[in-house]
Symmetry: C2
Subunit: 227 residues, 2 copies
DNA sequence: TTTGGTATGTTGGTATTCCATAATACCGAA
DNA sequence: TTCGGTATTATGGAATACCAACATACCAAA
């Protein structure tokens, strides 16, 4: 409410180019496991399903390709990227580095306003977990982390983490659904939130690491039997 | 030469689609500062310059957009992304995390073969620096890091770092050209290489951090006067 | 100088067409 | 029956032409 004076009355330019919509739809379809790893993405079929032209579909596929959700083999067209444990493991390792760093930075520089936002995000998350709707849980979890990253000034790291999350989101859907996770998840988040509000970077870092170790272990047990 | 048996006899599918060529050309044009930050990228003009159709150009732009090299405002078209110090700083911070981790992992698990490859890469880098050709220096530096990341099994982190490097490559061109850098760079690399060959993860980590602190400082001095 | 309107350029998006190739089906001869 | 070759189809890669919406610059009038 301070330096946003000019943007306040700015007309909300519908950020919805058709292509972005298509990207979003496709991304959700992959994340929600409606498409499975290895599935082919036939352009002309997607045109019908999405009701858009082929150029839009193709550009959307390029975007998803760059996000790592889709892989295109030279002559055989795009397929949904498969996820094995070695890759998932790497993703969790990278998240651990970036998120721990962001949480520490956040704990160091957050003020009361940030604390409030964080607690609000945590409350929303707990409600969503209570409801038991996977997509809501995912979104509120994302929102919680978004507060941490952006308030720490780690915009670019947040972009990266968002992208990585897309790639392991099918796992997340499963891990978030697992019963012990539904309890452990919010507890970990609460620890993170509390450490940040206490301005204790080391504790925040450690809480993030514990949380991710936990998530990675569940993912591991899920992936090790179904390669 | 161990688990690559099946890929060895695989036919090398020429990966040269027109679009990939276009992406490469445009990326190089941006990296080599032939296009400057804020420059508009008019589709039809690029069609003429590249000698390809609009669909190719547009898909190429989507890829570069996802790489963070260009930004597209809804109705006003793509522009070359500008780089300011806050962003560059974030990029260096992330690289510090990922590269230090990779170097440590590499030092932990590298065998004699990796050591040899690393030393070869270092030698090539020293030659390139001696020649003083910016692009050669860039490529050999990249090759050096590639050995570290891939031998550590950090493929995904390497993808991320490559992308980040694209975004700060214009700076790199300048930092690599600066005279004290031409001496300090290889010295740092040699320290990294030596620590890895000594299987000393902590030292490798520290050498990487020193190297990046140095690079970041040069970038800082370059960016602080020309926002 | 400000206001209002106009002209032009550019993007977002669509439709249509052609070509090259991979995969598949098919078919005849040994 | 099996092998080797051929026809067909499905699909991606690419080019082109077209339109509507919007942005920008410019120009004219008050």
């Amino acid at each position: 409410m301070d330096q946003t004076h000019d943007t306040d009355l700015r007309i909300e330019h519908s950020p919805t180019t058709l292509r972005e919509l298509a990207v979003e739809r496709l991304r959700n379809a992959i994340i929600s496991a409606r498409f499975n790893g290895g599935d082919r993405l036939v352009e002309r079929t997607l045109c019908d399903q999405l009701g858009v032209s082929r150029s839009v579909v193709r550009e959307a596929i390029r975007v998803l390709e760059a996000e790592g959700l889709v892989e295109t083999m030279p002559r055989s067209g795009p397929v949904v990227a498969a996820l094995d444990w070695p890759r998932a493991r790497q993703i969790y390792d990278i998240r651990r580095l970036l998120e721990a760093d962001a949480a520490a930075a956040c704990a160091r520089k957050a003020d009361a306003r940030v604390h409030a936002r964080l607690q609000a995000a945590l409350a929303a998350l707990e409600v969503a977990v209570g409801e038991g709707v996977a997509s809501r849980t995912r979104d509120t979890t994302t929102a919680f982390y978004e507060v941490i990253f952006t308030s720490a000034g780690h915009d670019i790291a947040w972009e990266i983490v968002k992208r990585l999350n897309g790639r392991i989101s099918r796992l997340r859907a499963l891990t978030l659904a697992s019963t012990n996770r539904r309890i452990a998840g919010p507890v970990h988040m609460a620890r993170i939130c509390e450490a940040i509000c206490r301005s204790d970077p080391r504790a925040a870092e450690q809480a993030v690491r514990d949380h991710l170790d936990d998530a990675a272990e569940i993912a591991h047990s899920l992936l090790i039997e179904t390669p």
